[in-house]
Each structure stands twice: as C-alpha cells, then as structure tokens.
Amino acid sequence: MAMKPRFVAALAVAAAVVLAAAIVRAQTPGQEPEPKAAPPGTYAQNAVQTCLRECHNKEPFTLVLQTPHAVKGDERTPFAQHQCETCHGPSPEHIAQTDKPVTIVFKGKHASPAADRNAKCLSCHQSGLRQHWSGSQHESRGVACNDCHQIHAADQKVLRKATQAEVCFACHKEQRAQTRRISTHPLAITSLANTAKMACSDCHNPHGSTGPRLLVKNSVNETCFTCHAEKRGPFLWEHAPVSDDCTSCHTPHGSSNAPLLKARPPWLCQECHSGDHGAQINSGANLAGGNVTTVNGQQAPGAATPRVQTSARACLNCHVLVHGSNHPAGAKFQR
C-alpha cells in the first residue's frame, strides 16, 4: 500500500529534524540524561558532555576547547584522559549535586589549597621550565599556577609578550611603576598595536631557576649577556664591579638615570673611586654659571670653565669603555 504524501512529508520533516539534531549534537555537548550519583573517586564517562552542559556551556569555560589541553589526539592532554576531571579531579558529588564543589577548585571562595591545585598541573608539567619549581620563591609563598595562567582562555595573557607584564604587575607593583621611567627596558606597551618588545620571562623564570631572583641563567651577568653579549668579554682590562654583577651599577626595571643606572655619574663612580680627580667634589658650583666659574664674580667668563666631570657625560666623557677595554692602552677605559 502506498504511503500517503502527507505522511511521507511529515516523516521527511521529522527525519530532517532528527538529522539536524544529530549533527548539532555530534559537535556540541548535547543533552544527556542526568547521571546517577556515582561512588566517590569515580570519573564521569564523558566529562565534556557531562560538564559542559547548561551549567558550563558558555565562555570562558568552553574556551578550553580551543586550547592545547583539549587536543584529544595528544594522549598526554587532559582531554585524552578524563577530560575536565583530569584537572578538577573525579567529582561525582558535584555532578549529582551541583552546589557541591568539584574535588579541585581553582578559583573562588572554595578554591583548593595552592599546593593541591599545583599538584594537578605538575602531574604533567613537572619538567622543562618547571624543573626548579619545588622550593622556589613563588611556590614557597603559596602562588598557584592559575594565579598567572588561564586555562579556560583561548589565549593566555601570560604567554603573550604584549600582555605578560600585566599579569606579573598584579603583584609586582614597583616594577610596574619603574617601567614608566625615562630609562627602561621595552617592557611597557607603547605601541598602538598594544605590543611590547620584551617580556618579564626574557630574564626571569617565574617557575623557579638556578639563578638568583628567578633569573633564567645561573647568574645576573649570564642573564644580561643573552642580549648584551658585547659586555661578556673577557677583556684585557676588566672593570671589577662589571665582571662581578651588572646590578652593582644598573637597575634593570627602570631608572631616572640613563642608562638604567642606580645613581648617575660622577657620583655613582665616586661611590668607589677616590684616586686622582675621582676624589674631587662635584656640585652645582662646578656647573656652567656656578660659583667656581666666577669665583665670587671675579673671574671673566672666558677664563674658566666648569669641570668636565660634572657636565655632559661626566666621567664617561673620557672613560667611556666602563664595561671593559681590549686595547693595550685601555687600563683607564679610555681606548
């Protein structure tokens, strides 16, 4: 018996609806029946479907699907294992009763202890840059991985040069202000494209390091030489504080005294040198128009001149190679 046309049409429409629903469901967390409460410590069968439902089916939660953590084909990733529960822990109680928190809570008033949160991340990310995390400055002060890292974000601010400093400045306020001084490294965003040319991680490894103050290399100098290799030497004539520690004279986050100096010459140099003209006083009286040029008004302008050590580039008018000289006649850093 031939089917009636209207019935066929209705059947086709129904099939289309079902097909459409199936297509959509295949690509989105679909509606699943409410799971029954599972025993504690039990992982959900399909956490993506379970978690990213009406409760968490919006940004920023779903943004994790765009990240490397959600690449199921990479067997190391959370989504190749227990998906959401790989990081948040098996949470059948939360699934059954959503006002109960998950096993590991990363944010909010029910946040788990930093050590517990970190243990989850370190279960995969122990090595590489995190080799020296245990006992490091941030770890010992209770900083959690997600204090800096955003997992449910298509792009992590801390992993982009343009926005990394903003994350660090959430705690390191002094350094934020210092990047606004007249002499700085290019950390602050000054481009209309909102890009910076340096990031804090160019010098520091916030996860821990072998060097002082979380520097990426074994020492201050080794870190500085990664960009300033021309200062490494060795030189024939070395300047002792330079080979000792660049921060003897420089303050790398920003300074009122170019170039990134703790104090300005000649007074910076006079903090160590008192030989020959190094001991001579330099004050406003030595400057053009100062008392020394006039000696109580009794000297004509053409007769005297301000001390060259107090003016222009001060000691570096002549002793320019302060980081070291390789000239046989360069012991005074002049050649």
């Binding site: 049409a9 097909l19 074994n218 004539w237 001991a279 580039r313 046989p328």
Partner: protein, 879 residues
C-alpha cells in the same frame, strides 16, 4: 520521476543539514587587522621602542592566524599559528609555528627592535655612520683670546670659542712670569678676528645626525617527542644589530685631555643556539643541554680627527671584541618519596676572546698580540624539599657558582692618548728589574677577575593555623674574589661572608582577604678588605726604583710603615731618603714610583660598596581585600635599607621605600575601572674627600708674595695660603658628601566598557620623577686676579661652598583609547588614539651646548620634551 513532495522532503533534509554550523566554541578564531595610522610630530623619545618616531602616516598590520584540525573530539593533532604585529613599522615581528601536538613542533620568527637614542645630536665630523670620522677641510680649531707662553697676546684652543662673545671676552692673564699676571685683559682686534673667524668657519659645519640602533632577530626552533618520556628540542637565533650611539672619546691637546663625543658605529652579530634532551616519568625528570653564544663585532675600532690639534691628528680607540661562550648543563630531579623531592643542576661553560690588539706609537710594550682570554664558569645547584607533615614544609639548598678567569697576566706599557711615550728614569733596565725598563708613562698589568660563590639556604614553613603560615629562612653566602697570576691580590675583598635571616607571615584569613609581611636582615662582612689591592695593576710597585735605598720598593716601604697608598696622615714637612722618594712631603704614594701616569691609590677608609661591610634590612608587605563582589583593593609597602658601617668614604647608606595602592571596581557587568598609585622614595649618601698634595707655597705664584689671605673657610682654622698648602692633605674643609634623593609618583587609571557592539578600552598614566643631589662640602679656588702690586690683604684663595645640583625632573603622561565596533560578529572597525607627553630637565644637557665646556666638543643634544598624538583606524576581520 520522483514525487514532488519527496523531492521537497529531501530538499528540506539537505537544507536542514547545511543550516547547522560547526560548534564555534571549538574552533580557534583568526584575526587580521589592517588600516592606516598617523603620528602628529617627530620625536625619537616618544617612539623610543615603538617605531612611531616620525610624523606622518604608517600602515597598521596585525594578524593572528590559527588553524589545524586538532580538537577535543577527534584524533587529529595538527595545529598551526602565524602571528604578525606592527607589520607597517620598524618594530615588526612575525612568528609562525606548526606541529602535531604531542609529536613535533616547528617554529620560526623574525623580530625587529629599534631603539631611538637622540634626534638632536649634532657633529661636525664627516663620515658619521662609518668608523672613520674626519673634519671638513674648512675646520679651524676654535679659539678663545688668551696669553701665550711668551707673554704676548695669543690664542688658546677651547670649544667655548665657538661662541664669539665668550671667545672674545676679557680674559685673565694666567702666565705667572708676565708683568700683567693676574690682570684682566681686553682682546686685541687681531685676537677678536681670530675668534670670529674660527667660529664662523666651524659653527656651520655642525650638522644633525640621528642616533639609533636597530636589532633584527631571526629565530628557528623545534621540538620532537620520541615518546611520552623522551623529547628533544632546540633553537637557533641569529641576531644583527646596527646603527650608532653617542660615545665620549679622549684625545690630547696642549695642556690636557679633551673629549670628543662621536657617533659610535654599531655593526654586530650575535648568534645563540640551544639544544635540550629531556626525560621524564612519574617520579623523575632529567635534562641535558648545550647553550652557545657567539658574538662578532664588525667594527674593529673607531677613528676620529682631533678637533683641537693644529693638524687634526687621528686618534683611534678599540671597539668591543668578539667572544664565544659554550655551556653544557645537566639537570635531574626526582621524588624521593611522596613528600620529598630532590633537584640538582650542574653546568660547565667556557668564554673565550682572542681578537687582535690595536697598537700604535703610544703602545711601545705589547708582549702578546691578543688576549687569548678564557673564563671557565662552573655551577652546581641542588635543593631538597620536603613536606613531612601537613603543616610543615622544609627545604635546604646549596649553590656553587664559579667564574674562573684563566686569562694570562702580562705587563703593558703605554702613553696616554696623544702623548709621546716618555721613559721613567726610576725604572731603568737592570738585574733588579724583572719586568724590564719602563719606557712609557704607564706600566700596567691586566687583572683577570675571578669570583666564586658558595651559598647554603634553609627554609621552614609552618601552617600555624588555618589559612596562616609562618616561615623562617636562613641563607649564608660566601664569595671569594681573586685574580689568577697577579703579583698581589687584586681583590679589594678576597672574601665576603653574608648571613641572611628572614621571617614571613602570610594569611588568607578569608577568601576575600590575604596579607603578607616579610622581613629580612642580612649582614655582610669582608674580614680582610685590602686598601692596597690597586697595586695589582702596577707591578713596578714591587720593583726597586733606581734611587731607592736598602732595596726598598714602593710596596715594601708602605708595608714597613703600615701605610696604604694615601701615606702618612701628616702635613707638609721636608722629607728625605726613601720617604722623600715614595711619599714626598708626606703626600700620597708618588705615582711615578709605581710607573703610572695617575695616582690610583684610594683614600683610607674608602670601601667599594659592592664588597664592603653592609647591613641590609628589607621589609615587604602586601594586603589584598576583595571588599565586595565589585570592589577589590590592594596595598603594599616595601622598604629597603642598606647601611655600610665601616665605610668612611664611598657609599654610606641607601634607602628606598615604596607604597603601592590599587583599586579595581566593576561598575557594571561590562564596565570596569582600575586605579593605581605608586610612590617611591630612594635616598643615598656618598662621602669622599677632595684632598690635594701638601706643599710649602706661600703665595699663588712664586714671584707674587703679597696676597696670602683666605676667604670663606669657616670649616678650618687656616688663615694664610701657606698654612692651607702645608695641610692640603688634612684640611677639614675638604671632606664632602653627596646626598641624592629620587622621588617618583606614578598614577594610572584604566577603564573598560562594552556598550552593545562597542568595546572601549582606555588608560591614563602619569609619572612625575624628581632627582636631587644636595652636595655638602666645598673646595678651594685660587684667586686668578692676584698679580704684582696686589695689596697684602688681597684674598689669595676662596673657599667655594658646594651648591645643590639642579633638580633633574621628568613628567610623563600617556592617554590611550581604543574603540572597536563590531559591524558583524566577524568584522569590526577599530579606532585607536594615543597622546603621549614628556617634559624633562636634566643638567647633563647643559654641558652639551655650544660654549659650555672648554675641553669637550658640543653636541647640542636637548633634553626630551615632546607632545605627540598618534592614531590608527583599522578594519578587523575575525574568521
């Protein structure tokens, strides 16, 4: 033929299937932004690092392209990304990566960084942008009117003569044997003509030369995962830097050194390479790596003509030498137990440098052609951490870092720039002279500095109560410093020991309130500070001079008398024998007796601050309060106080305190405001003594004995010039101090608002810094107007009290607003605007102006002052 209804039904199915899109939440969005931008004014400082230094139009180009089929619900792993920023500017960067996640990753990039240094620099030299700078043929040495050595009207070479009103001003006759000595003379017509002629010839020759450096970096990197345990990664990063930066140089003119600022040519290559082999499993990890850094300077030297010598003689100075550094590292870590971890790291590196030395007639003794320099760096670091109970965490660590400079020591002899070498008669050839005769003014031995750190640390953290932790930590640092091969210990402090005690309290008393207070006290001591370490530079201090008796050397005579290079604490007396040879008139060790052109001994009690005894107090505090759903507050106070208790001279103390206040308020769901304020106050105090040599001179010029009085010296009891001269070394008027303060206020406001399709972001940041230096003390200046016939009561010398240095201040402001309007979910228009402003005043620029300094050529550089508007209008596509 199919029934129409069936066809329609099929069409409905097809349409229905096509109408359901792939879920947007799993697909990574790409963006591209293009458009024009403009800058209102030229300013090197405003565009210091951002490529916006020139007024006019520029292109906006930013891309962030992502792709790959990897997703949460398939087995694909391919991901790729291309990022481009500032493509229309000199600060452009491009980065691309592709890989199968979990298996391999390849990446590469290109980055440009331009650092603008000065757009107000001027120079008369031809050849700026090369390493050979010559003066135009029409250059005439600038002159001021003066008196020649033969008591006739003459000219003195001086850069101040570039301003004719200074060059042709009345001048003081400073020739002691002249009958008009001390008189103010008016230049003759001929003198004035010479001044004017030189100024008219030279001033037009100064032309602008913009100084900037540019760095171009290419990078390539790979990662390959053999399996879940083993991985190999590496990177290769060649970099090129070119441009020019301002640099002072020294030459010599009759009467002393002169300085010539020149544009120093930069043309350098630096390549870094890194390879790591990694292993990890559930309990352990390990890494072996190699790091290489190879630096080459394509500019071996800089040469320039002397602007003040009659023939424009050529001077040459060295540029930085090329060097190589190779380092291998090994790191391993393991979980000893569930609660205990151990990590250890070791590295071995070698830095070498062997560029050929530059030599010229001023360097008569150069025992080797190149340094053959070698520095071996060895480091070891280990840390044991344990959490034996839920409340207690412990850690202990040891760090060793050794920079062993194994470069050989040699003695070089040279004259200063522009001088002809002159033999030192105190050190002729002979059996008592193992180094050979001194044939130039300076005989110096190089000092290859080495440094070794041993550090132990221990830390205990205790959860004293729920959400409260107490920490105690101790660290001990011992640093050894030395020079391999120097005849005497070169280190001012061969050993420094520093102990640090730290206590910390932190709390998260509620989810909304966290606080931390951290205090540390560190005491560093240098048990054997050696004020004679400078002698390592001058090995002839250990050679018997020709006229010494009893086989004494400068060094042995000092040791025999218990003196350092400053010598006896005594005024003038007629000295004889070895005392007169080494410390004539009780003055400091005579520098010719250690074969050096300058006196390099330091004041007794001078301590170089980086190794001096130091007490350090450090306080860190932070309070964070989430005052409500919408309001968060944060405040912090940091204090650092360094005190140098045994430093009579040098840095005395340094203190900095900083206050930080932050507030964030969510005005509405799509409207947030953040405000911050930072105050920083840094102070330091340095002491020294501008003593000079004792003498018995009773008058300024031997023939003019009339004027003997002093003026302005309430700090000492001397009433005559002779009294003062007898005690130049001990004059209580001559100690001085510099008291520097650096105060910076910074305030910022940021607003973010979303109105419908419009996304607005804006911020305002203002920073005001002020640097002051209140110098206390003073110095003597002889009265140059004392001449024959001067009254007996004429003041011979004036005590010029120090004056505060003019305040250096900088005001910086920046307003930035960006608005993005979404035409559609995929397309938007963006308007960006930035206003940046700086006002500054810095005393250093006074000395760079024409007519300011006699012995330094001017550059006319100006302090940074700018007001610049920049805007951008761009189309943003998201796909």
């Amino acid at each position: 033929m199919k029934p129409p209804i069936a066809r329609s039904a099929l069409a409905v199915v097809i349409v229905a299937a096509m109408a359901v899109p792939a879920h947007a939440q799993t697909r990574q969005a790409s963006t591209a932004e293009v458009g024009p931008g403009g800058v209102s004014d030229d300013s090197y400082k405003a565009g210091e690092y951002n490529g916006l230094q020139n007024s006019g139009a520029y292109g906006i180009g930013n891309v962030d392209l992502r792709g790959g089929d990897a997703a949460y619900n398939n087995e694909a792993t391919r991901r790729w990304r291309v990022i481009g920023n500032d493509l229309g500017l000199d600060t452009r960067s491009v980065f691309a990566e592709v890989g199968n996640q979990g298996k391999f990753r390849l990446s590469g990039g290109y980055d440009e960084l331009r650092r603008n240094r000065s757009d107000t620099f001027q120079t008369p030299y031809v050849g700026a942008g090369t390493n050979m700078l010559t003066l135009p043929g029409s250059w005439i040495n600038p002159l001021v009117a003066g008196v020649s050595g033969t008591n006739t009207a003459g000219m003195v070479v001086s850069a101040r003569g570039l301003v004719p009103s200074i060059g042709a001003a009345p001048y003081i006759n400073s020739v002691a044997t002249s009958p008009t000595f001390g008189a103010m003379l008016t230049p003759t017509t001929a003198q004035i003509a010479l001044v004017n002629g030189a100024a008219a010839a030279d001033n037009p020759l100064f032309h602008p030369y913009d100084l900037y450096t540019r760095r171009q970096t290419v990078s390539a990197a790979f990662t390959y995962n053999f399996d879940q345990q083993w991985a190999l990664d590496g990177s290769f990063r060649p970099q090129h830097k070119d441009g020019a930066k301002p640099m002072g140089t020294v030459s010599r003119n009759t009467g002393g050194d002169i300085s010539t600022p020149i544009p120093d040519l930069i043309d350098q290559n630096h390549t870094q390479t890194n390879v790591n082999l990694n292993f990890k499993n559930d309990r352990a990890f390990a890494q072996a790596s190699y790091y290489g850094s190879y630096f080459r300077n394509n500019v071996p030297s800089m040469s320039w003509q002397n602007w003040a010598s009659p023939a424009g003689t050529l001077n040459t100075m060295s540029s930085v030498p090329g060097n190589d550094f190779s380092q291998i590292n090994a790191t391993a870590g393991m979980s000893v137990s569930a609660a205990t971890k151990l990590v250890a790291n070791g590295s071995y590196g070698r830095a070498t440098q062997n560029d050929a030395f530059l030599t010229d007639p001023t360097t008569p003794v150069v025992p080797v052609n190149s340094l053959n320099g070698l520095v071996v760096t060895t480091a070891f670091n280990t840390k044991l951490t344990s959490k034996p109970t839920k409340k207690v965490s412990l850690s202990a660590g040891y760090r060793f870092d050794d920079r062993n400079n194994q470069t050989a020591v040699h003695v070089f002899q040279y004259a200063d720039a522009g001088e002809a070498p002159v033999a030192n008669v105190n050190f002729p050839a002979g059996p008592a002279n193992p180094f050979g005769p001194v044939v130039a003014q300076n005989a110096n031995a190089n000092r290859p500095y080495s440094r070794k750190l041993n550090q132990v640390t221990a830390e205990a953290d205790y959860a004293a109560a729920p959400h409260q932790w107490l920490k105690a930590a101790y660290a001990f640092d011992r640093i050894d410093r030395w020079c391999n091969g120097s005849w005497i210990d070169c280190a001012d402090a061969s050993v420094t020991n520093e102990s640090t005690l730290r206590g910390e309290w932190r709390t998260a008393v509620a989810a909304s309130v966290t606080a931390r207070v951290d205090y540390a006290y560190a005491a560093r001591r240098a048990p054997d500070y050696n004020e004679n370490a400078f002698l390592a530079l001058v090995p002839y201090a250990n050679v018997v001079p020709a006229t010494a008796t009893g086989g004494m050397t400068a060094y042995s005579f000092m040791i025999a008398n218990g003196w350092n290079g400053w010598g006896p604490a005594a005024g003038y007396s007629a000295t004889t024998g070895n005392l007169n040879l080494f410390f004539p008139s009780n003055n400091a060790l005579a520098n010719t007796l250690y074969a050096n052109n300058n006196r390099i001994s330091e004041l007794p009690g001078m301590r170089r601050y980086y190794v001096a005894d130091r007490n350090r107090n450090t306080l860190r505090s932070l309070l964070t309060w989430q005052a409500g759903e919408a309001l968060s507050l944060q405040g912090g106070l940091d204090v650092d106080h360094d005190d140098y208790p045994t430093s009579v001279y040098g840095l005395q103390h340094a203190r900095t305190w900083a206050l930080n206040l932050d507030a964030g308020y969510a005005i509405a769901e799509d409207f947030t405001a953040d405000v911050f304020y930072n105050f920083e106050d840094g102070r330091s105090n340095t002491a020294s003594n501008s003593y000079t040599a004792n003498s018995n001179a009773a008058a300024i010029a031997g023939a003019q004995a009339a004027a003997i009085g002093l003026s302005g010296n309430s700090c000492d009891t001397y009433t005559t010039l002779q009294q003062r001269n007898n005690n130049n070394k001990l004059d209580p008027c001559l100690p001085w101090s510099a008291n520097m303060t650096d105060v910076v206020n910074t305030v910022g406001v940021a607003l973010r608002r979303k109105i419908d399709r419009l996304d607005l972001n804006g911020h305002l940041i203002y920073s005001h810094s002020r640097w002051d230096n209140a110098v206390a003390g003073g110095n003597w200046q002889n009265n140059l107007l004392v001449g024959p016939g001067a009254a007996p009561t004429t003041t011979a010398a004036f005590f010029i009290a120090a004056e505060p240095v003019p305040t250096v201040w900088t005001d910086t402001g920046e307003v930035r607003v960006t608005g993005t309007y979404a035409l559609t979910p995929a397309q938007g228009l963006r308007v960006s605007y930035a206003y940046t402003r700086m006002r500054s005043n810095d005393l250093v620029y006074e000395g760079m102006q024409t007519g300011s300094l006699s012995a330094a050529a001017p550059t006319s550089e100006q302090p940074f002052n700018y007001s610049v508007n920049a805007f951008g209008f761009s189309y943003v596509l998201t796909f």
